[in-house]
């Protein structure tokens, strides 16, 4: 009895304690959970984002690519409490290196000889800056000699500096040197200012001086920067031999002329490998139809347009596509005027899955392809008994009128000839009064040529159909005095017939890559060069990251725009740490 009472007391105690604990826990308020550091950080981040924008500091940092100054400003304003990282977006701020392939004919060498030649004893200006013997070119370009030395600041023993005596008779201004390896220099004669070329000083090996023609690179460098719409950009230009250069050092490579395209095809594997790293290629060349069969060109997806023109090519215009608008913005940012461009070959970019390019990059303001020859018409479609056709669509109109079902063979352009397809022209309706009152027609094309229309799509009047990469709209022609309804049908080509002047591709048929652009090869003026420079910017990465790349729980976004010769909007994404 006593033992059971003792056990009872224990049980009662346990129950009582348990009840008390449960009650107490239920009544005890938990500590408010709030990360006040994060709260304050978010408040400061929002304030600072606004302040940076309102003071104009952010815009100045963006325009001048001053990511470091932005980080310094945030850290200083916040008294070292905050750090910022992020990305400048929608402006071509990322540094971009462009390599211009130089064909064999333009990769030159020249022998060097010791001494100053006609300037012997008169080269104190050079001798004061170099060690050892001065060398000179054995022969001349443009009647001008180059002089070489080993600069005193150079640790090695190679001849790394050159001077151009461009007719000033052993006097050397700042513009005549010293030029160092991988620098462009102008080799010309001051007595004939129009006679010069730009070259890239490559190397002096023994008594051999190697140099690449660099007119394209220099002309583009001169018009492309250092600012675009008063925004500081960072483009580097170089000349290369695509067969031997380390292509990973470049973001864009360019080929010029027929020889350039031949070299491109000859080095197609290297170029495809280069492009697979999200890189771009610019082709400045006039192309013929056979050129598109090259080892590289055949994989680009560019197509030949075998059509004549109506009107003459003149002027340029941009389309409403995002790419074209972006290119146009950069073009205006370089303060370029109106231009005309040669076409350099009837090339279609064919990005849209059809032969012609719907959203061109740059096309001729005037003139267009004469695409009427692609239309296909038949005025004598034959009335057909539906019971003799396999797979004809259902229609009550068959019992209403004999011309409710007609058929004929139409020829469609293929690019290398024509291809014939049988076509049904059908009047559609589910009641006789409907058939009598209206004339709704559709067409079916026997694409697989098996005589069975049940596996083909019915295309109504006004709808679009693509045949041999060309877009058509079937248009039944109404009855006239000499023909009945259903007797005449026309397939009207409705694709874009603008004449592209700058072709482009963003996806390719044989390899991965970012962008390819093609423009004709001509002797361009400054504004025309600016269009090519705009293409370079269009290919440039439009995001510039900075700072710590780790994630942050606090981020803000700032929108702005730089207004100069044109308006360029930008976005700054900031992560706060």
């Amino acid at each position: 009895m006593v033992e059971r009472k003792g056990l009872g007391y224990v049980i009662e105690m346990v129950v009582a304690i348990g009840t008390l604990i449960i009650f107490t826990l239920g009544q005890t308020p938990t500590e408010p959970v709030q990360d006040w550091n994060s709260f304050e950080k978010k408040t400061s981040a929002r304030d600072l984002t606004y302040v940076l924008k309102q003071t104009g500091d952010a815009q100045r940092f963006v325009k001048n690519r001053q990511t470091g100054s932005l980080e310094t400003a945030v850290q200083t304003f916040s008294d070292r409490n905050l750090e910022v990282s992020g990305t400048f977006l929608n402006l071509p701020l990322e540094s971009t290196v462009i390599g211009f392939h130089t064909t064999a004919a333009n990769r030159k060498t020249m022998n060097l000889v010791d001494g100053g030649g006609s300037c012997s004893g008169d080269l104190e200006e050079i001798q004061s800056e170099v060690d050892g013997t001065i060398k000179r070119t054995q022969s001349e370009e443009h009647g001008v000699t180059l002089y070489f030395g080993n600069s005193s600041s150079n640790i090695g023993t190679g001849y790394d500096s050159l001077w151009v005596d461009n007719g000033t008779e052993c006097q050397f201004s700042d513009a005549e040197g010293p030029y160092f390896q991988e620098e462009f220099f102008k080799w010309g004669n001051s007595t004939n200012p129009s006679e010069y070329d730009y070259y890239d000083f490559k190397d002096v090996s023994g008594d051999s001086f190697s140099y690449y023609l660099a007119n394209t690179a220099v002309n583009l460098k001169q018009v492309s920067g250092p600012r675009l719409n008063n925004i500081k950009t960072f483009l580097e230009f170089d000349t290369i031999n695509v067969a031997t250069a380390n292509l990973s050092d470049y973001d864009i490579i360019s080929f010029r002329g027929g020889s350039g395209v031949n070299d491109l095809d000859a080095n197609n594997e290297r170029v495809e490998s280069f492009m697979s790293n999200n890189k771009g290629v610019i082709i400045i060349a006039n192309l013929t139809e056979p050129d598109l069969d090259g080892d590289f060109m055949s994989k680009t997806g560019f197509r030949w347009m075998d059509l004549s023109f109506t009107g003459a090519i003149s002027g340029t215009k941009f389309s409403d596509s995002i790419d074209s608008k972006q290119l146009e913005t950069y073009y205006k940012g370089l303060e370029a005027g109106s231009i005309s461009l040669p076409q350099g070959g009837k090339i279609s970019s064919a990005n849209s899955g059809t032969l012609t390019q719907e959203n061109y990059l740059v096309s001729s303001q005037n003139g267009e392809y004469d695409t009427d020859q692609w239309n296909s018409t038949d005025y004598s479609m034959i009335e057909t008994d539906p019971s003799t056709v396999t797979g004809e669509p259902d229609s009550t109109c068959y019992s209403s009128t004999a011309d409710a079902l007609t058929q004929a063979t139409f020829s469609f352009e293929t690019g290398s000839g024509t291809e014939d397809f049988n076509v049904l022209n059908v009047e559609l309706g589910d009641t006789i009064p409907y058939c009598d009152d209206r004339d709704v027609r559709g067409v079916i094309i026997d694409r697989d040529k098996d005589g069975d229309y049940s596996d083909e799509n019915l295309v109504l009047t006004g709808e679009t159909i693509t045949i041999n990469e060309r877009k058509y709209v079937p248009q039944p022609l109404p009855e006239t005095g000499s023909r009945e309804d259903g007797q005449a049908l026309e397939f009207i080509y409705i694709g874009n017939n603008d004449i592209e002047l700058v072709n482009y591709r963003t996806s390719f048929e044989g390899f991965q890559g970012s962008k390819i652009a093609r423009i004709a090869n001509a002797d361009y003026n400054d504004d025309q060069h600016k269009l090519i420079a705009s293409i370079i910017y269009w290919m440039t990465d439009d995001s510039l990251p900075f700072g710590d790349e780790s994630e942050s729980s606090t981020s803000t976004v700032m929108l702005g725009g730089v207004k100069n010769s044109t308006y360029m909007p930008y976005k700054v994404v900031l992560r706060w740490h």
Partner: protein
Amino acid sequence: MKGQINLEFLATAALFIFALGSILLSASTLLPTYTQGADRTSLHLESRSITNQLLSTSGRHTSGGGGTEWESNTNTINNTVELGLTDNTNSFLEVERDKVMALDTNGPGLTYIDFKDITDAKNQYLFNFTWMPTVDTTKSFQRGSPPPKITEPGNNNFLPYNVTDNKVHYGTILINGRDYRFLVTARDGVYNATYVSDNWDFSASSPLDEGSIFNVYGTNYQIEQISNREKDPGSLVILEKHLKEFGANIDSDSIVIKSNRYAVMENEPLRIEVWTW
């Protein structure tokens, strides 16, 4: 038999009392933690509310016909019914200098007691206003070949200009309607000194490093920071001028929270440090 007190009962009762005591002791340690957390919440929320009000409204007085320029004179200050620091267009985070300067802990401007009455603040506050103008020194020249308008500094015996690095940055800032000109020089790749003048003739200027005070046009400013980030060294100089401290002395025995707010004053950044307890 009923009501017997035996050993088991006593042990059970003792255990129960022990358990009860433990629960009470635990609860008594939890409560202060909770109340501290609740206090912090109250401080943060009120601080946020009051600073939002100060930085998003112009304030209002009822003197004369009333208006938002409460800082104008003694009458308007004495009749301020709403407190705000923004300019009279109620621009968010755009602060007016005169309103900041009209804050005066012990008078004659708007006192701390006035602040407490007007804002109905439950907690104590201390505000520290620091103005931080930025100088764009993006442009540069090679030492010895300045633009024609610039006269380079002379060679101070202790810090000669002619042994600084070749690239010298320069810029100008307009403060209170006056131009301040700056040169920024580097030594061994680190931009560590600046020369300040009221015109482009720096021949009589001495180098100033970070933390130095300079006085041009009779106003002291401190060189707070010279940018030395890898990507654009020397392109930015940040000045600092402490404008105003306003509020009570901090009670370090209380829970004190600190927050920073930022605003724009005369197109330059303003940092507002806020202590609340």
